[in-house]
């Protein structure tokens, strides 16, 4: 028994020896507080002469020891991430010194959001706006109260409507990645520095072991598993991307967004004596050709396939997969650290 306590004291002193981060200080303080409560409880068992309660207090002190070992494992895991994994990543990706796995995950997510926003604004400027503009172009021919209306461009409303729907989905992809970014920040600012010490404290007592185990599991899953999931799925994405780059050529790899010409927003008059409507569609021409041309432009595989890859796979699928991995690990880790907790409610919310 004495050896176990000596080991516990050693772990405490080791934790303070290094330059401790906030979560380490909180965790050790929480465990010491739990230990103090148990010591008081242990002394009270002598006052009321209850050997059964004394046995319980000793058993709970053993749990304090287990909790200290858990802290030591987390200190080691964080140190390994900072001192071994991060330099290895840094060597490959040229990251600044001191980067952690979480910094990598945050930067990966930010760069994906920036890339996707760039593609969306480009699509908006070159396709969505001019296409919607063309779909509204109507020709009028009037003289002294008589007039005719020509709607030769109305068919363009079909591809334009599809593009509006596509934009909605693309924005949903960015929203999904933004949520991933916020979850990573939440893990760094709240789950690990707050929930982990709180969970460690609560797991020292029999009554609150389930809650403590769940909180530890959430902190570990979102601080370690989730960012690693982000990094790994990005690696998988990059591998798949390499095949696409090889097939398309490095210069032609990005989605090929066509340029559609429509009447200028500032156009007030046409300085011409001919019936020429500027842009890719003439409303006085009642054939289906402009509509067919526009459908061909937006249904181009070089646009659609690459957009789907970057947004659906890179945005929606991977972010859902990362969350699923993290939540699955919460269930398993809860079993290890405390008790089984139903996380299906969180999964449904997510």
């Amino acid at each position: 028994m004495m050896k176990k306590f000596l080991l516990a004291l050693l772990l405490v002193s080791l934790s303070f020896a290094a330059e401790a981060e906030a979560w380490q200080v909180y965790s050790i303080t929480a465990v010491l507080a739990a230990f103090s409560v148990l010591v008081i409880f242990y002394m009270l068992t002598y006052a009321v002469d209850s050997p059964q309660a004394r046995g319980m207090a000793v058993s709970e002190m053993f749990q304090v020891l287990v909790t200290l070992v858990i802290i030591a494992v987390f200190v080691g895991a964080e140190g390994y991430s900072r001192d071994v994994l991060a330099p290895a990543f840094g060597e490959d990706f040229g990251a600044p010194e001191g980067y952690t796995h979480l910094d990598f995950a945050v930067n990966i997510t930010k760069s994906m959001i920036n890339y996707q926003w760039g593609q969306i604004t480009k699509l908006d400027g070159q396709v969505v706006r001019p296409l919607a503009n063309l779909a509204t172009v109507t020709g009028n021919c009037g003289f002294l109260g008589f007039s005719f209306t020509f709607n030769g461009c109305a068919g363009i409303a079909v591809p334009s409507g599809s593009m509006a729907l596509a934009m909605r989905v693309l924005v949903a992809c960015i929203l999904s990645l933004s949520s991933q970014l916020v979850l990573l920040m939440l893990a760094n600012d709240f789950f690990f520095p707050v929930l982990l010490p709180m969970g460690l404290f609560l797991r020292c007592f029999h009554v609150t072991r389930g809650t403590g185990g769940f909180l530890i599991a959430v902190a570990v899953a979102f601080y370690f598993v989730y960012p690693l999931g982000v990094i790994i799925t990005k690696g998988m994405l990059d591998q798949a991307e390499a095949g696409l780059v090889a097939a398309a050529g490095a210069d032609n790899y990005d989605p090929v967004i066509p340029s559609i010409d429509a009447p200028n927003a500032d156009l007030m008059s046409v300085e011409s004596l001919e019936w020429i409507v500027p842009g890719d569609c003439d409303p006085f021409d009642m054939s289906y050709e402009p509509t067919k041309t526009m459908i061909g432009k937006v249904m181009n595989p070089d646009l659609m396939d690459r957009m789907i890859f970057h947004f659906f796979i890179g945005g929606l699928f991977t972010s859902a997969l990362n969350l699923l991995i993290a939540l699955s690990s919460v269930r398993e880790l809860s079993r290890i650290f405390g008790t089984e907790v139903d996380v299906s409610a969180l999964a449904r919310v997510s």
């Binding site: 906030a22 200080v25 926003w117 969505v128 706006r129 001019p130 919607a132 503009n133 063309l134 779909a135 509204t136 109507t138 020709g139 009028n140 009037g142 003289f143 002294l144 008589f146 007039s147 509006a164 729907l165 934009m167 909605r168 924005v171 960015i174 929203l175 949520s179 916020v182 979850l183 939440l186 709240f190 707050v194 709180m198 609560l202 009554v207 072991r209 389930g210 809650t211 769940f214 909180l215 429509a262 009447p263 927003a265 500032d266 156009l267 007030m268 008059s269 046409v270 300085e271 011409s272 001919e274 019936w275 020429i276 409507v277 409303p283 008790t339 139903d342 409610a345 969180l346 919310v349």
Partner: protein
Amino acid sequence: MAIELAAMYPLSVFALGITMIVIGLAYALSQLLQNPAFLVWCKTEFFEVFVSLGIVLVTLFMIGFITNDVKYGAFVSLLPSGIAAPSYSNPEIGDGDTVFNASSKYLTNVAYFVHTSMEGSRAAYGALEVHMRYRRMPCLPGILMCIFGPSGFNFAPESGGGAWIQAMNMTMYTDTAAYITVLVQLAFLSFIQSGGFLLFLPLAIVFRSLPFMRQLGGGLMAMCIALFIIYPSLLFLESFFWDPSAMVGASEIESVESAISGMAGAGGAGVGMFSNSLPDDLDGNVWNEGTSLNDFVGYREVVDNAVRPLLKIAAVSFLSSTFLFALNIIAVSASARELGRLFGQEVDLSRLMHIV
């Protein structure tokens, strides 16, 4: 509290008295019938009723401590030097605020944040709607021919705004769900704070000693502890580390707020004008000054200054309200279950999640 905590102490002792009377009657009956099983039950319950009272008194003391003695300022001073204390301004959380007050103010700040996001989405929606419906009609052939009739073509140059409107519709939907969730949390907190649940504690003393009712009594105690102590404590703790405005960043909040209040400068109309307020000189601002769309808030300006930050703000709003709330409820239900087991009954508060 609507139901005074102090009133619960005599009520608990009264419940103890009632239970003792019931046990006394049972004891007399056991003597009359010479039933040893009855006698054993009476002796066991005589001990258990004091255990129940002890648990209830400790719980009441803890609730009183949480409600009156734990102050926000004392906890802020415990934060390590590397971690900045959060700064809430809608409303401000004072050093003297208790756990319930601080939790309530924290939720109000989250609600304000989510409302800003909703307002931004609505404003951008309205601005884009105006852009979308704006039409022009250049004359053909040549401007002089217009004097004979409306010959030429007309078009809506910014009708592409419809695509962004769909996106804003989506963020408004997310924000509305998030806003309702925060309001539900506020209502839930004030319901707990009103003290109705406290009545369960004296009741639990009686129930724990009645035949076949111990589990119910234990369940009531567990529920009280989980809702009165664990749930507000989690919110209180979150208020130190989870300030959604700080997470998004001041510049992005300002960008959206200026988009709501008006960002085009002198002579121009703000995005907010189109959906949140309609000043008298709307015609003067929009239609009579100049001929270019750039005279009022530009389409691109709306997308860059309002839509982009709104996507991030909507994500933070959702996680601050719905996700964290789900997490709190799961933690509360886990602790209630464990306490329920200890006191005699397993309680499943996760059903609360379904109600929400």
